[in-house]
């Protein structure tokens, strides 16, 4: 473990929690994203360990199954030298009648610095942030938000299509993605990834198109000013970025379209549509991908796909979030307890 180079703490960041992207200002989004980029470089592309958060502990408190996001947070914490501890709902105290908040307070009392939480109920992380003294990170609250997924998607776009000097503090963060057209395609209704992307992209100036079956796209999006499309063919030629969402069969009571084949016919990104798209289109998917449903193998494995870069950027934005929240806690502590 090498000693970490000093990293400037961005003055725009003051929050001890990361709950959603909807309420973050462009300057705050920029603070996380540029910190993530620096940490990615300091860790040799998220592969090496630095001692930035050594001695601190990150607790994962997941009430929904997750391997990918949970491990991504754990690896991000370990890359910065922190320890991790895992709590899950199966076999835990919640099954013995304990309330969710009591479980979280008990974990906090064990001396953890961050609680990373996933829960099927929207707003749960916001509740915990009010009840706990430590930092809370939302790793997905029902269909509401999944802020680190939104951030990693946006970081990937910036790396490929942002201004060359996007990390420069001299640019207006609210215009970083101006002129860029990004479509979120698929199961918008059940997707916290869609919601976090939409708010974050909008704050940085992108034009967002929401594309999916009418049964999976609320008409509210159009009412509040977003472009809505019901056929990928109608928009594919105009898009700079496509973010292809997975159909979350496990969250659906009734099938919202006649068949997977019909869904794929209207929404799958395939070779035909690639040939009609811009020559530098960026293909993204939050994963896990369902080959042959929302994306065909030739597109998933093709030169425009940045799906695996998104995974690596997930480590980067989670390292940035853990470090910024911890720093904001330290600043708050030093201000309430000024040195004598």
């Amino acid at each position: 473990m090498t000693q970490s180079a000093p990293l400037p703490f961005p003055s725009a960041w003051r929050d001890r929690h990361l709950l959603d992207l909807e309420r973050l200002q462009a300057a705050e989004l920029f603070a996380i994203l540029s910190t993530a980029e620096q940490l990615k470089a300091l860790t040799d592309g998220c592969r090496r360990k630095i001692s930035l958060l050594s001695g601190k502990t990150c607790a994962n408190l997941f009430f929904e199954n997750s391997t990918r996001t949970r491990n991504s947070f754990s690896l991000a914490a370990k890359r910065l030298g922190a320890d991790t501890v895992e709590f899950s709902s199966a076999g835990s105290s919640v099954a013995k009648g304990e309330t969710f908040v009591d479980t979280a307070k008990t974990i906090e009392a064990m001396g953890v610095d961050w609680v990373v939480t996933r829960h099927q109920t929207p707003g749960t992380p916001h509740l915990l942030a009010r009840e706990l003294g430590c930092s809370v990170l939302n790793a997905g609250d029902g269909p509401h938000e999944h802020p680190t997924q939104g951030l990693l998607d946006i970081l990937t776009i910036l790396q490929h299509r942002g201004p060359r000097d996007w990390q420069s503090a001299s640019l207006d963060p609210s215009q970083l993605l101006a002129g860029m057209t990004v479509a979120m395609v698929g199961d918008i209704a059940h997707s916290r990834t869609a919601r976090s992307n939409i708010w974050g992209l909008k704050s940085l100036g992108a034009d967002v198109i929401i594309c999916g079956p009418p049964t999976l796209v609320s008409p509210r999006w159009e009412e509040i000013g977003f472009e809505v499309a019901h056929r990928l063919d109608d928009i594919v030629e105009r898009c700079d970025v496509l973010n292809l969402l997975r159909i979350q069969f496990e969250r659906q009571q009734t099938r919202p379209f006649p068949s997977v084949r019909e869904y794929a016919a209207l929404y799958a990104m395939n070779g035909d549509r690639m040939r009609r798209a811009k020559s530098d289109i960026l293909i993204m998917a939050p994963g896990p991908i369902n080959r042959g449903v929302e994306i065909t193998p030739e597109v998933a494995d093709g030169p425009h796909s940045v799906i695996l870069e998104q995974v690596t950027n997930g480590i980067a934005v989670r390292m940035a979030a853990l470090w910024l929240l911890s720093g904001a806690s330290d600043i708050a502590a030093s201000e309430s307890n000024p040195p004598r």
Copy 2:
């Protein structure tokens, strides 16, 4: 990770295992408790890491579900720089026909320094202590004992109600809690926590009252000299400490009382009973708590409750136990292999 300050090894401690509190002398209990207090201070309230046990490995071998106790042991080990490894019964070799002792010996052969074990059968840790060369810590053996839970409860009492200089070696440890009345309330029959508290409190001079429904309190307690009560109202005014046990529905074949409502009417600590209690009464619960059953929210969240401090002290006593057992092993090794 900061280099740890030298910590004096208490001469009263010689044991390589922590199996129960019933057979520990007052001086041994004092050795653990005062070491726990020092380690809590050295780790900034159990929140920071020191390198006291760096390079050693702690194995959790749990045959009953546990998140809280398992993670508390893991965090205690990590706070002192040790590594941890998790074994559980689900999907393990026991399901393939291996005996319990063979499983434990296999884990020991992987080079671990401590085995922390929970099992539904009383005496299992004692069996392992005879069969293994490494240290064994009992994390709960059926309804028998849960020694670290007893220790963390007693540490919490000492911090709040012990003599101001309770850590001073000049006091008689067997009188540390003299004059203090502590009631264990609720499901005594199924509670290893109750048993560990009872023996530990008695050794340090406290007066212990055992309070619960006749179906959940054996008459044997009275025969061997403990005060037994069947109504909380009969004793609440005299108590300095109440330790409110959870009804362990999952351990009961038949319901030992007519209804939860009736149980709560007789045994729940609520606002009415608080007003009749001593003005400095200490309210404890081993958790997870069932709000509205053994404790009402106003009491659980009120100023007399030290429930979350108990959780933090759990880290402290487990750090102390790991360090003391490891030191006793080192002493035994150096005595059997004197330097040439």
Copy 3:
């Protein structure tokens, strides 16, 4: 964690993956085995930590239940200072429709250095080795191979019965076990352990006997030149080493012998057979053992049994494999990117 002494990198080792023993040369087997012996010494018998692989990360990707092998790999990684991360099939992205290769590529994109994998399908690790950029270690692919188990068994034999100077580079590795008769006894058909032992032992010059019920031993073994026996009594007097395999009831659709009692009568190593065996016979079992089936307690716990040493050697060979694969990757990287 002590700074590791410099360890010479064996020039015979060039591979970035460990997939099977069948295709390894004697010199490569020797490279792993002698490295394992050195790492065992450097870590005080696999009990202490050195910083050889500090900052690297090992991912366990297990699609079959495993506690023992998974933890052995994890402990080996931690002993060398690496971090570990656990993926399992339950609750993972595979359940959401992701392909096995996409899951593995996603894990690699999180920045891991090794993927340790177990899967019910033979050849899966070979597939991953072609698809991934990081190192792949086979921890068992169906009934095909389990190379680290074969290596730890062979290391145990070398330690007890190899030439006194077996680690010396002056010996011919293909003759290290010349003159040694080793029998694999039991359920050969379902045993990846058997297959890895057979190929590894053969490469180092041992005489291998394959012994088991005709329903569990393919006639192909005899056709390709191995001695096959169907009664332990026919061979027990000639053997230097017996490796007693567990009957893997969980892998069998139909019972391949009339009863466990009948199996034990023909194949169990018991006191009677011990008295007819060579006076220095070595008794091995990959574990978990079924006492009373393939081995009786007096043999399992007797002076000829090295079953627990095998477990410790498992840590040693896995440390060696992780280090060698990592070194081969570094060499490959430095050769493709020569220093300027």
